[in-house]
């Protein structure tokens, strides 16, 4: 087990969210979508220009920019 930023995850890699370091609007947007501590996620793909990133959580797909993914630390295998 190691902890990395969501930005550095590879396509297809799975992990569990350890922390979300975002407050205010950004924090709310992220939480509204279910990205909270303990949530299981996997990287589904990246946009043609490598940014934003599409992630899979609880059976649906979300997109985030890389600099937003930086705020989320994930525990990966």
């Amino acid at each position: 087990m190691k902890t990395i930023s969501m930005r550095n995850m590879a396509v297809g890699q799975r992990g569990q969210i350890l922390s979300v370091k975002a407050d205010g609007e950004m924090g709310r947007r992220i939480r509204d979508m279910g990205l909270i501590r303990g949530a299981e996620i996997s990287i589904q793909g990246r946009a043609p220009l490598n940014d934003p990133v599409a992630i899979r959580i609880k059976g649906f797909t979300l997109t985030l920019r890389n600099n937003e993914a930086d705020l989320i630390s994930v525990e990966v295998q």
């Binding site: 609007e25 709310r28 279910g34 589904q44 990246r46 043609p48």
Partner: protein, 728 residues
């Protein structure tokens, strides 16, 4: 609740099938309006089943009930102020956990909730079994399984809504948010309760909760209602915020969200849902995405899809456009044959029929375009477009979500800048929003389409689809560069979050597409029928009065008599008669032109000719462009009026397109210059009013008119002069 005035609200996440259910419930009995004071669209309709009549209000789709976007505020205000009997919360059964997050917030508010567990069919094919009874019992709210696409379950839903109202009145849900917050909430609640100005409208504990969540709307309300009370609430809030930060490195809002999700997952763990397959397996939608948002194939397919939309629109609409043109010509010819020459006849033919007919003729084109857009929107592909283009948009200081505003405005030609400017409301950062709403009017709205279609049809008829694609590219590039310019100068600032759902691909319902298409087309036609008619008549008056002075009229009369005299005696010689008729015709055309030049509009147009000739525009084009300030489609109707009045030929069967193409003062280059000018110059006054409203200042409305017109003129001059030098 069997009274006629019963009202229910439909609420749910975007992409929950809310609009589909709304359409299934109300059919065509819909009314579209606005929420008071804001520009969020308010849709309401009537559900009828036997004697059972219920008013259904479709609330804006939201993920949450914070005061974070105007949609959320509108939805919340409606629930608090209008107190609908029941809130029907549409929950996606295939995406249960996340959708219940909104449900919990309704329950916290204490509004009577009933769940429509939608997309049961999708859940089933995904191997998800939901024990509806158990879930209903655990949440304490009635749940009715539905499939909105087929209308399955809608009558049962309405049955429950009207008969079991009492079962939904549970009072607010009291969740625990952890010891620290619960304690703070208790204290705050006891402070708020005695203040009746607040507690008569809102639930006291809910207000306390919203204060902890940093909800700006509630905070502002509390400040104005009782500033002393707010100060003591803030003290408690600050203390607990500080405490949480020190001990747990978290914020109250995050903590509250955690506990809400915790409550949901504790329910989920009690066997309400069974997965028959691996939860993370790839569905068909994900497999499609592997291709459609693929790094290499994605952009190529996206370009192809957009081009395909053009092709579809232009090819399929050709026949109906021709029919309408024929019909309008026939009406004009009939009026011409049955009316005596008079000012009234001129008004009817030149003012009314030509003006409105010219615009209505394009209605089929606009309808096909909207149909295509609706398919992209409803299928989920537009979200992928935003995903793929965000990186590009950010370069220009915009947001991936700006794509929506740009597309609605006509990024895929045929939108309208008015809803486009309004769509910019979904953007959270005021700076990106301002940049978006100031640049979306550069897009090719449905009203500019007739202008482009006319000019392209007349001068570039061999490459119609390619030319329209080029026009779109020009408007995009221009808008993005203008946005960048604004974000670097007048509206500097940081960028905002891009957290967005990629909904699974869905086959759009035919019913939904039709409602969507007709709604928008109807709005266009309504605008064409009223505003345009008024403006067309006004312009006719401007182009008719004051008429030629008597001395000039006499001059024409005597010249006409001269021609008659010189040809007298030759009535039996065909060549003489032909020459005479041609001379008279030319003279009459000259007279009409002189009349128009002398009119109010002609004088304005002529006085500007000195400047506009650098861009290749004569006074007629100038008149048309002045009219375009009112609405862009007026450019076409004004050109129509201007040319039919300047050309007295009663056999006016040639359409405007042909008369422009054969007119020596027009060339492909001047047409291109006019196209460029039309793309960029001042938005119509309706859009300007919207910009003023959305930006909150007349300054930006005035700015957009001045900035856009200056930019448009410089670009048109550049194109025209460069083209001239190159020998076109």
């Amino acid at each position: 609740m069997n009274t006629m005035s019963a009202t229910i609200a439909l609420a749910g996440n975007p992409n929950s099938g809310k609009t589909t259910l709304f359409n299934a419930l109300t059919g065509a009995r819909q009314h579209v309006g606005n929420y008071p004071g804001v520009t969020v669209e308010k849709k309401s309709g009537t559900y009828v089943n036997g004697d059972n009549k219920i008013t259904v209000v479709d609330l804006p789709g939201t993920y949450s009930l914070t005061a974070y976007s105007p949609e959320e505020v509108a939805a919340r205000d409606f629930l608090i102020r209008e107190k609908p009997q029941v809130v029907v919360n549409i929950v996606d059964a295939s995406n249960l956990e996340r959708h219940l997050y909104l449900t919990v917030q309704f329950m916290e508010m204490g509004v009577p909730v009933c769940i429509a567990l939608n997309m049961m069919d999708v859940a089933k094919t995904r191997g998800i079994d939901i024990r509806v009874d158990r879930l209903s019992k655990l949440l304490g709210v009635p749940i009715i399984p539905t499939v909105a696409r087929s209308g399955k379950g809608k009558d049962e839903l309405m049955q429950v809504v009207s008969s079991e109202e009492r079962a939904m009145k549970n009072g607010p849900l009291r969740l625990s948010y952890g010891e620290d917050l619960d304690h703070a909430l208790d204290t705050m609640e006891s402070l708020i309760r005695p203040c009746t100005a607040v507690s008569n409208i809102y639930d006291s504990r809910w207000v306390a909760l919203k204060c902890l969540e940093n909800d700006q709307q509630i905070i502002d309300y509390m400040k104005s209602a009782d500033s002393g009370l707010y100060a003591s609430l803030k003290q408690i809030k600050d203390a607990v915020t500080d405490h949480l930060k020190k001990t747990l490195e978290t914020y109250p809002e995050a903590m509250i969200a955690d506990y809400r999700y915790g409550y949901i997952s504790s329910i989920m763990k009690q066997g309400v849902m069974v997965h028959r397959y691996d939860e993370n397996r790839l569905y068909l939608s994900d497999k499609i995405d592997k291709v459609l948002v693929n790094r290499l194939a994605g952009p190529v397919i996206m370009a192809a899809v957009l081009f395909g939309l053009y092709y579809f629109t232009f090819t399929l609409s050709e026949a109906p456009v021709a029919w309408l043109e024929k019909a309008i010509e026939w009406i004009g010819a009939t009026a011409d044959a049955h009316m005596a020459d008079s000012l009234l006849k001129s008004l009817v033919i030149s003012g009314i029929i030509d003006g409105v007919g010219g615009v209505l003729g394009f209605a089929p084109l606009i309808m096909f375009m909207f149909f295509g857009i609706a398919i992209l929107e409803d299928s989920g592909y537009l979200a992928r477009v935003a995903f793929m283009l965000d990186r590009v948009f950010r370069i220009f200081g915009l947001h991936g979500s700006s794509v929506m505003a740009f597309i609605v405005s006509g990024g895929i030609a045929g939108g309208c800048a008015v809803p486009g400017v309004m769509a910019s409301r979904t953007l959270r950062s005021p700076k990106e929003r301002l940049a978006t709403l100031l640049t979306v009017p550069f897009m090719n709205c449905g009203a500019k389409l007739p202008v482009f279609a006319l000019l392209v049809g007349a001068f570039f008829s061999k490459n119609e689809a390619t030319m329209m694609m080029i026009i779109t590219v020009i408007s995009w590039v221009g808008a993005l560069l203008a946005a960048k310019l604004l974000r670097m100068t007048l509206i500097r600032g940081e960028s905002t979050p891009f957290v967005m759902e990629l909904p699974p691909y869905r086959l759009p319902t035919f019913n939904g597409l039709l409602i969507h298409t007709f709604e928008r087309t109807f709005q266009y036609v309504k605008k064409a029928g009223t505003t345009i008619l008024g403006i067309s008549i006004l312009l006719w008056a401007m182009m008719t009065f004051p008429g030629l002075p008597d001395s000039a009229k006499e001059g024409f009369e005597s010249r006409k008599a001269q021609i008659q005299t010189s040809a007298s005696g030759g009535e039996s010689i065909p060549s003489v008669v032909e020459k005479r008729d041609a001379e008279i015709k030319a003279l009459e055309a000259e007279q009409s032109e002189a009349t128009l030049r002398n009119s109010i509009a002609g004088r304005i147009g002529s006085s500007l000719e000195g400047i506009t000739s650098f861009a290749g525009f004569d006074w007629r084009t100038n008149i048309a462009l002045v009219g375009g300030f009112a609405a862009k489609e007026v450019i076409v109707s004004t050109l129509g009026t201007a040319y039919s009045m300047g050309d007295v030929d009663p056999e006016a069967t040639e359409s405007l397109r042909d008369s422009l193409a054969s007119n020596p003062s027009w060339s492909p280059l001047s047409a291109l210059s006019l196209i460029i000018f039309t793309i960029f110059y001042a938005p119509c006054f309706v859009t300007v009013v919207c910009i003023v409203k959305e930006s909150g200042s007349w300054k930006w409305g005035a700015f957009s008119m001045a900035f856009n017109t200056t930019l448009a003129f410089l670009l048109a001059v550049l194109v025209y002069q460069t083209g001239h030098l190159m020998g076109f």
